[in-house]
Symmetry: C2
Subunit: 368 residues, 2 copies
């Protein structure tokens, strides 16, 4: 029996978890990454090369049923080149939208998805106009290649405008966004298959620190049906507009029960890691099902789940394994400040028990 | 950070699932198998060689923290040879006990664990004496290398004694066991760590056909505290007696609430596959935790679970993925009659829902 073979651009922890889900289904995954020590290579075939190396990319594509990606900064030309050889899903158009904050927010607006006010900043003069228009506080961001809070500057007063411009301007085009006073950040993990079937996990509540996700909880505490519906409607509209196949993540600010879309990621997402232990089907398996045109799996949560990221450093496995109720995931990466090394998920049928165990677990995993 | 590296003798589906559990924890697994296409090689490092090839075994052992095995017919000399180079867990003594039905049953008896009456059969004359002693029906079995019902003959009347002898006798020593009229077969998956910590999954009820496991359910329907206790006590006594480290499985016949130990397996077991989807910690992760001296993980079931083996052939992934509630596992093996190719697990919080979904699933996976 021939196994379906899936190519993945990028070989980090998201690829690694895609591979673990793929092996369960008897699939074969082949990764392409610039780094010979990319951690997906521990669990699948790894080909090493630059994303501009057409010959290596063609060798990578040979015999693949489909190509997908596990990070959204895949060069568009790479995706387009591959799409002439083999199906690339989600389609490169989704990459283009997600890589550019301006195009992404234009798409939100066109689809009627609420998003914080924003302005294109093409010059220093345009920045002044944008500041006058939106008011402060606001956030100046590079349109491209920002992640985990990088490429951003918060403008709280007029004195900060020059400094932010000097730091971020250069060859990189910028965007100014209103800084929204939100109560919390939430995200939705959605999936759409090549047959148009869609599925949604419940809304997730996220806590960030220094721009990096620290904690996700699902179901999101105090979530209501109207809030869930806004998130689903937004994800559904985006997926339909892009004729999307795969898992799509949309992050929102919750402002008094009104969701404002912040950004989308055309891939599996850190805020969906809880699904490995806390849902009938994981986001990784559903991404594979979606791009292979298989029926999507059940997204129902099996309890109340919380996921804590292990960032920069973590206690030894022996201590992590002793945390009551913790499901431990380590990615095989070398410790480095700000690096995502693993995560711990707790799933409990009772929300109160989860809250207590989460408190214990957070104390256990924090650096002393 | 140096990852612990675990060597595994055997590279079949049990090894493959050990590797998937190990990768979650950031561990590294290296397999040793005679077959270059052993399916654990899809998900970990595979070294190919004969179990008698000392030079290759030494290369295999280099740099390993511990060696374990995923099938119990590892030659004892191989295990002993390796144990001079690196820790082998469970210790070779457990292999010796489990490989020989006579020694195994002698151990059960010595520890006060009830087992069906049995007699050593060293000769044709000894067989007649054993038949006279135990009465018929009885089962004549090879003492070694039996699995999935192979190497056995049921004696229902005196006329079958000669035929069974002719078929099974040769160089292989035999054992005669009374054929017990049991209500059901159950098994317990237990774990003991190198620190002496023990943990038990709830009792599993198993259905076999043609000597091969078809269905496991956990918790075992109609199980009672006294029955659970008999199983735990037996497993605990065996693990203590062998100073055991790892997962140990003991299979029993349930005769009116009295458990008779049938056999034990010094390894993860097919009747524990439900733990991947249906328990807080899988048997595979707990085996790794046990041999590494890590705290054992929570064995609590997360609901009512049923596991259906896919044997010889199975519907395409597309149809398996459409079965409501099914968690699909395929091992990447070529179809062949009697071969275990994968399994499907269903987990439901409600026992009645499980029963209905199980009925649907069994109809879906059976060959048309």
């Amino acid at each position: 029996m021939r196994r379906a073979t899936i190519g993945v651009l990028g070989g980090g922890q998201l690829g690694r978890m895609l591979a673990l889900a793929g092996h369960r289904l008897g699939l074969w995954l082949r990764f392409y990454d610039r780094a010979p020590d990319a951690v997906a290579g521990h669990v699948g075939e790894l080909q090493v090369g630059e994303f501009t190396d057409a010959a290596r990319l063609e060798r990578f594509a040979a015999g693949l049923d489909v190509v997908t990606y596990e990070f959204e900064n895949v060069p568009i030309d790479t995706a387009r080149h591959l799409s002439r050889l083999v199906a690339v899903l989600p389609a490169p158009i989704a990459l283009e939208q997600a890589q550019d904050r301006l195009r992404e927010k234009d798409l939100f607006t066109r689809l009627g998805i609420a998003t914080p006010p924003f302005r294109d900043v093409e010059s220093r003069a345009a920045l002044d106009l944008a500041v006058a228009d939106l008011g402060l506080p606001a956030v100046l961001k590079t349109r491209r290649l920002g992640y985990d809070g990088k490429g951003q500057a918060v403008l709280r007063g007029p004195a900060e405008v020059d400094r932010a411009w000097d730091r971020l301007a250069g060859s990189a085009p910028l965007i100014l966004e209103s800084l929204v006073a939100f109560e919390r950040e939430v995200s939705i993990i959605a999936a759409r298959s090549t047959r148009g079937e869609v599925a949604f996990y419940p809304l997730v509540e996220n806590e960030h620190r220094d721009g990096i996700l620290r904690l996700s909880r699902c179901p999101a505490p105090r979530s209501t049906a109207p809030v869930e519906r806004q998130a689903r409607d937004a994800a559904a509209a985006l997926m339909a507009a892009m004729d999307y196949a795969g898992v799509l993540t949309v992050e929102f600010f919750d402002v008094g029960g009104r969701l404002l879309a912040n950004e989308m990621a055309p891939r599996v997402h850190n805020s969906g890691h809880w699904t490995i232990d806390g849902a009938a089907t994981s986001q990784f398996e559903n991404h594979l099902r979606a791009i292979l045109g298989l029926p999507l799996g059940d997204c129902s949560p099996t309890g109340h789940a919380a996921m804590i990221n292990l960032i920069g450093t973590h206690p030894p496995l022996e201590r992590l394994a002793a945390i009551p109720g913790a499901r431990v995931h380590l990615y095989g990466k070398e410790p480095r400040p700000g690096r995502k090394l693993g995560h711990v998920t707790i799933v409990e049928s009772d929300g109160g028990v989860l809250a207590r165990r989460l408190d214990e677990a957070r104390r256990s995993v924090l650096p002393p």
